[in-house]
Symmetry: C5
Subunit: 303 residues, 5 copies
């Protein structure tokens, strides 16, 4: 997630470099043509760029809206992961009857589940970003459980299975009552849903035809605008066109980046930072030592 109010100019420029250079080239060509073969350039009616400009603006607004919705839904999903991680440990801490298991064993169990949940958050962020989560799983899970999780293709689903197995054991030991089991099961179901929802956004490509058309449409608009401007304005057309193109392409790229909120870029959802916040919360709740600091932003974004 970008955080800096002063975005590095380089970053913004690198987003649209190629497109702007292309625009520069064809507007240069049109000016060149105008200079040498003035009469051969067609005179376009003024209303054409207006019509196309309105259409392309609406097209971009549509793209921006739905990209923003994908991005915001992604952030909401991770917000619900924060909530449900907190709820999970809060419930277990205050549901388990310590007299059944004894104070020490209860504490150890809570610690095990909390670390597994912390690991789940980090590992899920990594898997969404297409990274390897094995090191994380080995760090936060006890060896026996890591051995169960690692061979599976959906490692996060396997960790939720481990939560459920602990719950089953707690019920059979009567350390929790049947309503409490069902209540914690609800919390785990919400984690299952959050996982599926994030996977859905990650696996569903924004309609490809639309992406292609809108990009082509911006070019069509800029070419026709350039033809119109070269008639009336002359060489000054070049900076005006470049600035207009810059704005349209930056809006398009902003939308395109929001479309894929888990792709391991500066604009994505700050899943590592959120997982860290969960780690801090859960460790403080269980009065664990070694509570880490919140993740500091890198340069102009939060990871």
């Amino acid at each position: 997630m970008l955080i800096s109010k002063k975005l590095p100019f380089n970053y913004l420029f690198s987003m649209i470099k190629v497109d702007v250079i292309r625009v520069f080239l064809f507007s240069l060509t049109f000016n060149f043509f105008k200079f040498f073969f003035n009469d051969y350039l067609p005179s376009l009616p003024a209303q054409l760029p207006t019509v196309l400009g309105t259409a392309i603006s609406l097209g971009l607004a549509f793209k921006l809206n739905h990209s923003y919705d994908r991005w915001w839904e992604a952030r909401k999903i991770w917000g619900s992961i924060v909530n449900d991680s907190r709820t999970l440990i809060l419930e277990l801490k205050n549901f388990i009857n310590p007299e059944v298991l004894g104070f020490e064993e209860t504490k150890a169990l809570l610690r095990k589940v909390a670390f597994r949940q912390i690991g789940w958050c980090y590992a899920f962020g990594e898997s969404l970003r297409g990274r390897d989560s094995r090191a994380t799983i080995l760090k936060y899970l006890i060896p026996a459980e890591a051995g169960f999780v690692l061979p599976q293709s959906n490692k996060n689903f396997a960790m939720l299975d481990l939560h459920m197995q602990d719950l089953k054991k707690l019920l059979s030991q009567q350390a929790i009552n049947p309503y409490q089991q069902v209540q914690v099961d609800n919390t785990i179901n919400r984690l299952t849903n959050a996982m599926g929802m994030a996977e859905r956004i990650n696996n569903t490509v924004f309609p490809v035809t639309y992406r292609v058309i809108i990009h082509f449409f911006i070019y069509l608009f800029l070419i026709i605008l350039s033809l119109g401007l070269v008639e009336t304005v002359g060489p000054l057309e070049i900076p005006i066109l470049i600035m207009t193109a810059t704005t349209f392409f930056l809006i398009e790229k902003t939308a395109t980046y929001l479309e894929d909120p888990f792709v391991d870029m500066p604009t994505d959802t700050p899943v590592t930072s959120i997982a860290r916040a969960i780690e801090i919360n859960l460790k403080q709740l269980l009065e664990e030592p070694n509570v880490p600091e919140p993740l500091a932003p890198e340069d102009f974004y939060l990871k």
Copy 2:
């Protein structure tokens, strides 16, 4: 679901072939008229195409928005099918008391329900696409149950009934407690809802009058634009009009394809691929052998 970043040009062109040829023909006719009977062509005021262009752009934006919503809702429904299929088996696995039924029989029961759920997903995708799901049902259900399901018109509803019957039996054997039965019933209710929601999208035609009007409106706009351009631009009008028409028709067609997200076309919801992902998850959870590979995309889309 289209996935390729490089869409085949043929695919895009085939979407709008007929419409673009029509546009080509009438713009050719207008140019022909202009050449021979210049004086008889009316001179249209510049503002008319602008007004119509704004109106048609807003009309397309409306269509695109609601088509996108239908498509995205369809994808969400299948996302919830993923979540609830996982939850169903996760709950049953960790609710059933193995001491009641014995370890082997419990495992067999879980296996039977999981296969039925996998079959449910494939068969539901097939029925949405208007295909025959009988082979799938015979493959994933035991013969007695397939015999119960096959004669019914809503086969997927019948499979959910089988889930409920197993639940009833488990309760009467006291292998699960009453809260657990109600909790799994909630999961099955969500599957019933997902089924009904997908059927709703599939059976509800996007307002037909609107579809017709917007198509007619694009033609009206293009004809008037063509009349205006032929005046000022001459023969160059033809490529400009064709490119403009291409963009508008592509946007219209993109929307029309999104409207019906289960019609067995390259743009539809990848239900087979999602069902395969569920199969992998459930089989790994139950430590089944013969876990299949994820479905590979065909050419430029995922089935």
Copy 3:
């Protein structure tokens, strides 16, 4: 719900007949004036129709959006009625302990509730459309219950009360357990909600001032457009104006029809057809004879 891809031209034309004739008359008048008193017609600046055209297009887009939302919400409500009707019978079938009541009586009870639910669906559709539902109630309810329901003003609410009374009796006979009663009560609550939601849409008029303004605004726009066109285009103005007016009025009417999704017109929600689908599902679930066929569309729409 309109279904035919080939809408009868008569149907479309009858929607906007009056308005289009009015437009024809005033554009004829303007042409007449232009012919005889050319100098007395004011020359309107080109930007005025553009401004009004943009405003009216946005106004129509707003109307269309919210009308569509009402229509789609209506369809969703009936979708949830499908789901909850299925869930209700699925739950009762698999919750009731047949050993308590005996196999035959259980089957009779299930049959009675299912028929009442089928009757509820038909009768609710009829009452939304302002029709008499007494014949339906007499057909699907046993006489004693019909006698309880018929005198009440909200007959559908009374039928839900009968569901609840059966539930109460089942609990007192211990044929279901307390969690199951509460679970089925949840399903009935959802039916209560669906009923209230459909009544809300039916009883809440779309903001009347807005309806009036937008209609007046379209006329204002067409008159000013006509004045502008008559200047530059002459008699050809008439067909152009008529076609433009046709499109705007058709969009307005489409929206107006979507606003009231239960008014017993070809464009409304196909409640009879949905109720029939529920009847088929529930009867097949209970292995009833005499399962009817799905409702066939009439001409170009589904009832």
Copy 4:
């Protein structure tokens, strides 16, 4: 809620009287200036009103959209009050075991709760409209309870407390079981939520700066449009400007009225009429005598 299809012209005109007169005055002034000091009037470029017109149309569309959403949410909240009032009494009627309290006392209790709920609906509507609800409370509550409710500042919250106290007593008498208590508590929670949601809309002012800007913007637009029209059209400018202004101001006012859906005006949510419908439903359910008629509309609106 406005209901009449034929809105009185006076009502519409009174909404925008002041604004339209102001527009009339400045357009008159501009015409006067043009007549006497033609040369001193600046000639504005045609594109300026177009740009401002598009901006103002989008600004109004935004305002209209969110005002509509507030109005529709208000209506949904009262729809849910209908549903939960019905559910509350339906549940109590079919949960309470009459053998514990005796048939007569059960009936009396149900009657007391139902009347309290009816009173709650009327009183809540009155308090939202800023009226005194004491008479209503004295009418529908028994004296002892009215004495508990009246001194409190949030009288509706106090009435929900009374519902909860009855529930507590029913549980301690074992007239309902613990699951039923929790289930009815859910229904009461939804009523608490509906209450808070309606208060939220009532207490949250639509962003004030935006209200001010959009009003100022419409004037800016009309002044510039007037300057442009006076150049080209002359005195005919006055009726055209007035009609355009009327439309824009009517749309603005429609939105402003929708923003505050509980202000005791003809356009607000018909809370009295809804409360009456609830009264009819609940009294018929309990087979009470003296069921009132539905509230008849006053003139052109429903109260």
Copy 5:
């Protein structure tokens, strides 16, 4: 939250001072240039400001829509905090069996939880606004509990843990039954969610690139508009441009302020006032003395 209908002019002006002065300076410069070097100013085609104006209006509409959604979601979250605070105390008051703990101790416990919840609301508002909440916690919590809460980084989460601990104790004393514990746990979960949701809005920056582009785009539009106007209108261009710029910048700033609804400015969510309303409700419910007055607005806004 702004409340006054008469916003101080100073307040509005201070929002956009810097931007308007910049616009004044460059329009002055262009006029100066025009006066001295008339021929060197390029003549821009009329359609360019129109195209850019449409694009920028759509861009602002997008920004305004999503900013409004953030602001309204923030208000909804605090609305749900009101509802769940009321529900929490309503449930505890009517769930706890007073015979177990004795009347006095029950009252003391309820008082302790209610004060903690009131403190939670105030402290959460303060922490969202980046203020120190320690004084508040010391005021509303008993010393032992304050000692537990103060060292933690997420103090509000710690207070919810205290709620859960009380619940656990009540269950082990059998002052509430297991269903009631789970039911109150649901209420506390909703408070956990509300907390996480408000934190999400507070921590998630509105897409930074978009903020930057839209601001740059408004300048681009105003410069080009100024160049166009200086040609045709002359010095009168300055007030027209300033007024147009004022409107666009005010809309932009209104959106920017809505984006961050918890930043301790006059436009933010009135969390102190809401917390006060909760305090009044809960104290009256428990018949506490010293019920405070509702928070009075400061000048033109509510804190």
